[in-house]
């Protein structure tokens, strides 16, 4: 008698993961535009979409991460009425860098540890360097001054916000073990 093996929904439809990512990205984009000013400190807000991009890159690998970064960035460009392509480029590069933290079979351990915060910090720095470079380009604002003022603060705030998904993942890992 053949043994019946119960399969999870994700195993049945592997593409469902990407649909879930897309829905989360859409929700985070709307949250970012509508509600994030509620927790802004001196007009600095955490970039939750970037945290998602890093998460996807660490979970799925660099190749998928690149497209996730591009998609998330483009979505945010459209929703935030920003110059089309700026967030897309910044998040693509950030997701590419995040791909270097990808370790197959150890993704949960990476996300549930301080490595995730380090990854978010590095990727956020790359993201903000790219984004603010194009942001201040048409103006006469000094890039270095602007980046030191807003880029570093935004990087730190985003890194702090990445602590929550890391803790959730760490708790899940503890329960599983």
């Amino acid at each position: 008698m053949p043994q019946f093996q119960e399969k999870s929904l994700f195993e049945t439809w592997p593409a469902l993961r990407y649909v879930i990512y897309a829905i989360i990205a859409l929700i985070l984009s709307v949250l970012h535009v509508v509600f994030l000013n509620l927790i802004s400190v001196s007009s600095i807000t955490p970039d939750l979409l970037l945290v998602l991009c890093v998460w996807i890159s660490i979970t799925e690998g660099q190749f998928i991460g690149i497209f996730a970064g591009f998609g998330c960035g483009l979505l945010f460009d459209v929703l935030s009425a920003d110059v089309l392509g700026t967030n897309a480029l910044a998040k693509t590069l950030a997701a590419f860098v995040a791909g270097y933290f990808f370790k197959a079979k150890f993704t949960d351990q990476t996300i549930g540890s301080y490595k995730f915060i380090v990854a978010v910090f590095v990727c956020s720095m790359v993201h903000n360097l790219t984004y603010f470079f194009f942001y201040v380009r048409p103006t006469e604002i000094s890039f270095s001054g602007f980046f030191l003022k807003y880029g570093i603060a935004s990087t730190l705030y985003t890194s702090v916000s990445a602590v929550f998904p890391m803790l959730i993942k760490a708790q899940k890992l503890t329960v599983r073990h």
Binding site: V30, V33, V34, F35, N37, L38, I39, S40, V41, Q62, F63, I66, F67, F70, G73, L74, D77, V78, L79, A81, V83, L84, G85, T86, A88, L89, T92, L93, F96, G99, F134
Partner: protein, 285 residues
């Protein structure tokens, strides 16, 4: 061809990154927002609706900064309001002074009060004009309201005024309505007193008091003040006339110095006679 495909598969991350970066740059360069047309307007409308729907949620950080900004604005406005009020008062005073300067027949020099001294109930004021402006000792100081005092010293750029409310002040005065003469001396605080006025003389509360022609210090017919009280002295035939100066000394800021000195010949003659009387009296004693 196989090699190309193998290369792409092998370096798919870098190839896809390059492709995506090129797309991003193309979007930045050629991506016209207007091309998104209706879609963009739907997005903006939707986001706007959401923001409006959740606008009731208080933002503590924004409220705090708004509160701080409003406090600062409130302080600035209060400060501005005080300055405007000060300017209005000053403007009104200067207008009166200007009108007075036009009306008066005396040659006058306008000056600002830069200091006031109230020591041992001797009231003095320092003016920012001195000998260089033609001010000399003995000149009369007045405002649009009336007599303020007498110059008692003058340096190159400053001069000192002995105010009317000073224990050394003595002014030959006259009740304007009934032409009764008397000597006005400082009593206390902001009041002066006219002594030795017979009870039978016609003096009423509210009568104006002006400088008399008998004065060898002040020009005649200049307002000094107003009778505010008439006190009968039961032990004598005289009564005390209380006069409140027309000038408000507590808010004295701008004054005029009358560039006229008393007639030196008259002053010298009166002084000589006075000294003669004094010496005769001392000899008789």
């Amino acid at each position: 061809m196989y090699r190309i495909i193998e290369f792409i598969v092998r370096f798919k991350e870098y190839v896809s990154l390059s492709a995506v970066v090129v797309i991003c740059f193309s979007l930045m360069t050629f991506g016209n927002v207007a091309q998104l047309g209706g879609f963009r307007s739907v997005v903006v409308g939707g986001i706007g609706w959401l923001q409006n729907a959740f606008s009731w949620i208080p933002n503590p950080v924004a409220l705090k900064s708004e509160n701080a900004a409003l406090r600062e604005l409130n302080y600035q406005l209060s400060d501005e309001r005080a300055k405007i009020r000060q300017s209005l008062i000053e403007n009104e005073k200067l207008r009166k002074l200007l009108e007075f300067k036009k009306q008066t027949t005396f040659p006058v020099v306008s000056a600002d009060v830069v200091g006031k001294t109230t020591t041992e109930v001797r009231n003095y004021a320092t003016l920012n004009k001195g000998a260089e402006d033609g001010i000399e000792e003995g000149m009369t100081v007045m405002t649009d309201a009336g007599i303020a005092g007498l110059i008692i010293a003058a340096s190159k750029n400053y001069s000192l005024v002995r105010l009317l409310i000073n224990r050394d002040s003595r002014v030959a005065a006259k009740i304007q309505r009934s032409r009764i003469d008397g000597i006005l001396v400082w009593e206390d605080d902001q009041t002066m007193i006219m002594k030795n006025i017979p009870k039978s003389y016609d003096v009423k509360i509210g009568d104006d008091v002006i400088t008399s022609a008998y004065s060898n210090r002040f020009p005649q017919n200049i307002m000094i003040g107003r009778v505010t009280d008439v006190r009968a002295d039961s032990s004598s035939l005289f009564r005390k006339i209380i006069v409140t100066p027309a000038v408000n000394f507590s808010s004295l800021e701008q004054v005029f110095v009358v560039k006229m000195l008393p007639d030196k010949e008259r002053v010298a003659l009166e002084k000589e006679i006075e000294e003669r009387w004094k010496s005769r009296n001392s000899q008789q004693r």
